[in-house]
């Protein structure tokens, strides 16, 4: 079992996510990450990551390609893809010294400060999954809430 990534190009219509996700549910496969974006063509691109063996992965690709709203399914090799994940951070109410510390730490990690108001800092971090994971963990004493995207992959080939 290893991490698999599907990049699914499909019609942007209600129910398409359910048509896709049930193919995994039925086989008791958990989706580790899901992102959806609309392409310039108006089609949607769903990027999924999950754990499965080779046989199941190939079977799932064919099952998905059989669905009417799906245009194609690309299997992305994580080794040959650009990978990014975004985290939006909201701090708890910090005192002036803590705000300074927090801003410094976020910027050291390549993050951006989006807003500071009444001691509450909103910041953005992006990068590979492990990098974001590590940063969020380290900043956790300051944090009240974190919103994280799934992983977004783009094949470099």
């Amino acid at each position: 079992m290893k991490t698999r990534i599907f990049s699914i190009l499909c019609e942007n219509v209600p129910g398409v996510m359910m048509r896709v996700s049930r193919c995994f549910t039925r086989r008791q496969i958990n989706l580790d990450s899901v992102t959806v974006g609309i392409e310039p063509s108006g089609l949607a691109r769903i990027i999924l990551s999950f754990q499965a063996d080779d046989h199941t992965t190939e079977h799932l690709r064919k099952v998905l390609e059989r669905l009417i709203p799906i245009v194609n399914v690309e299997i992305i090799d994580p080794e040959k893809a650009a990978v990014r994940e975004i985290a939006l951070l909201k701090s708890r109410r910090l005192d002036d010294r803590e705000v300074m510390e927090f801003v410094q730490k976020v910027e050291e990690k390549g993050g951006r400060i989006l807003e500071v108001r009444d001691g509450i800092v909103i910041a953005e971090l992006s990068g590979e999954h492990s990098k974001v994971e590590e940063a969020v963990k380290e900043l956790s004493p300051y944090l009240k809430e974190v919103a994280r995207s799934g992983q977004v992959y783009l094949s470099k080939e």
């Binding site: 129910g15 359910m18 039925r26 190939e58 079977h59 064919k62 099952v63 390609e65 059989r66 009417i68």
Partner: protein, 558 residues
């Protein structure tokens, strides 16, 4: 021209060539039914339970090759379709189901008779729609039929809200649509070359024919290829009839309740050419021991099936008829005649030595004898539909089918209650053929209310009830694998099936002795009425031989 949704629906269905439709009206489909009141070109069969409408449409499709259509109201009307639609999905049967839905403004409000049919039908259809704008309806109906019948067939459901049925739009019928899926029908030339290279090296080839051969109308090609290379043909349950079963190369059905010769031949062959089959566990037994000496070539129109269960040496995606034709053309110059002579002798020897016995004179009757005599009365043109369980497997094992689309059974889902409504659909599609439902008493009671439909609409289906007062197949498993503990499989001495038939105004008769079968079956057929023959069979008879679930095909219980 400006039309209402209801007018669009019927016009679109007529444009698809629909002549018969099975259904029950209700509040959320009442506009559509109001329009149907003045339609003369479509015959509507009012069934007594929506499940029967779905099975009837399925049976209609299987014998005619044309999509079967059913229509119901929302909520319970639509949910009653579920079993029938899944049955059609599992067996790749082209069914278009339409159900009413609450008005679009009420969707999601738990309105009266509202069910989330888009979600419920989604996993059990090839595709499904909810109509949100009346102007989309012509396109949706056209797509529904196109999707249902293209590539590997299957059911499609259309959810039609009440307000859409009365809304008006300017539309064109039939709508122009394009489907980019299910269009690859021809095999790649290099795949044919690879297949031929494997076939010419084999000495003991076998062809395993599934329902796909029948769906693609490839029976002539199947027989031609089998004769060319001297390959015997085994079929799956749904493949029965793809080759005439009295053909010297036909070995009958393989699998759990297959013929011994079929299962042994598969275990001995050195090449297995599987056409239009999905290698169901009921066909293969333990996959690790399935065709252990063979290289496997798998031909299917649905790429999902290729490599799903077995690991073939070669897979060919394409329509069975076209692939078989390409193989015949390529092999005709390369095949060395006489190469399979020894194998042919071995096959004929197995057929002789392992022929099933059917000539019992016992009372109570042995089902084998009953099947034999039904076959003698029906000849090659009669259509046999079956319920599910022992009755089905006796029919599958012993009944000799001579033409494609003349044997109909619920394969993948194994739906008790399927046979009677499906035979009703078959009779509507083929009114000039005798249609017999080989039923068990347990299955028959699951949709026996359709006797009313048959009587009122003059649909003369003959139900042959193999009555042993048991849920027989479960009882058989209990007898064989659960220490004869017959837990809740005895149904008791009710009903009297002859009186039940008579209560509905149908023909009823009882058969208890070997001499009576043909005579009473002929009388029932000649009555021209829907009929019920209560055939009292030996309650202790098992369907044998049998490969226990997960067992090996070459190790059958006898």
């Amino acid at each position: 021209m400006e039309l209402t949704g209801s007018e669009i629906l019927w016009k679109s269905l007529k444009a698809e060539g629909v002549k018969d439709i099975f259904g029950i009206p209700g509040g959320a489909i009442i506009h559509a039914y109001d329009r149907l009141y003045s339609e003369s070109e479509i015959r509507h069969i009012l069934v007594r339970h929506e499940q029967a409408a779905a099975h009837a449409a399925d049976g209609y499709a299987r014998v005619s090759g044309r999509p079967g259509v059913c229509i119901t109201t929302s909520g319970p009307g639509a949910t009653n379709l579920v079993t029938g639609i899944l049955n059609a999905y599992m067996d790749s049967s082209p069914v278009v189901a339409i159900s009413g839905q609450v008005s679009t403004s009420l969707l999601g409000m738990d309105a009266f008779q509202e069910a989330d049919m888009l979600s419920i039908m989604l996993p059990i259809t090839k595709h499904n729609f909810i109509v949100q704008r009346v102007q989309d309806l012509p396109k949706i109906v056209r797509l529904a039929f196109l999707i249902s019948t293209s590539g590997r067939p299957g059911p499609v459901h259309i959810d039609l809200p009440r307000d859409i049925q009365s809304a008006k739009a300017e539309v064109e019928i039939p709508a122009k649509v394009e489907l980019n899926k299910y269009i690859r029908l021809d095999p790649k030339p290099y795949e044919i070359l690879q297949a031929v290279n494997l076939i010419v090296k084999s000495e003991r080839p076998i062809i395993m024919a599934g329902g796909g051969v029948i769906l693609s109308g490839a029976s002539a090609e199947l027989v031609e290829l089998a004769e060319l290379i001297g390959a015997p043909v085994v079929t799956t349950l749904l493949g029965k009839g793809s080759i005439p079963e009295d053909h010297p190369l036909s070995l009958g059905m393989l699998g759990m309740h297959g013929r011994m010769a079929a299962n042994l031949a598969v275990s001995e062959c050195d090449l297995l050419l599987a056409v239009g089959t999905r290698f169901s566990d009921r066909s293969t037994g333990d996959v690790r021991y399935f065709a252990p000496k063979a290289r496997i070539i798998h031909i299917d129109i649905d790429p999902v099936e290729l490599g799903k269960i077995v690991k073939p040496e070669l897979t060919i995606r394409g329509d069975a008829k076209r692939v078989l034709r390409a193989l015949i053309d390529a092999l005709s110059s390369r095949w060395q005649r006489g190469r399979t002579e020894e194998w042919g002798k071995r096959i004929q020897q197995m057929k002789r030595e392992l022929a099933p016995r059917m000539d019992y004179d016992n009372i109570p009757l042995k089902p084998q004898r009953v099947i034999k005599e039904i076959g003698e009365v029906l000849g090659s043109d009669g259509i046999v539909v079956t319920e599910v369980g022992q009755c089905e497997m006796w029919a599958a094992h012993f009944y000799c089918v001579r033409k494609p689309r003349h044997f109909v059974a619920s394969g993948g889902l194994g739906t008790m209650g399927f046979g009677f409504p499906a035979s009703m659909g078959a009779k509507v599609a083929k009114p000039d053929h005798v249609v017999v439902n080989i039923a068990g008493d347990g299955s028959f009671l699951m949709n026996s209310q359709e006797l009313a439909t048959c009587v009122v609409n003059n649909i003369a289906v003959v139900n042959c009830i193999f009555n042993n007062r048991y849920l027989g197949m479960v009882k058989q498993w209990q007898d064989l694998f659960f220490g004869k503990r017959r837990s809740h499989t005895y149904l008791g001495e009710s009903p009297d099936f002859v009186k039940l038939a008579e209560a509905y105004g149908a023909w009823g008769d009882r058969i208890e002795r070997p001499g009576e079968i043909k005579e009473k079956l002929k009388l029932a057929i000649e009555s021209g009425k829907p009929a019920v023959l209560d055939i009292i069979i030996d309650p202790d008879e098992h369907v044998l031989p049998m490969v226990p679930a997960g067992g090996r095909l070459d190790q059958m219980l006898t």
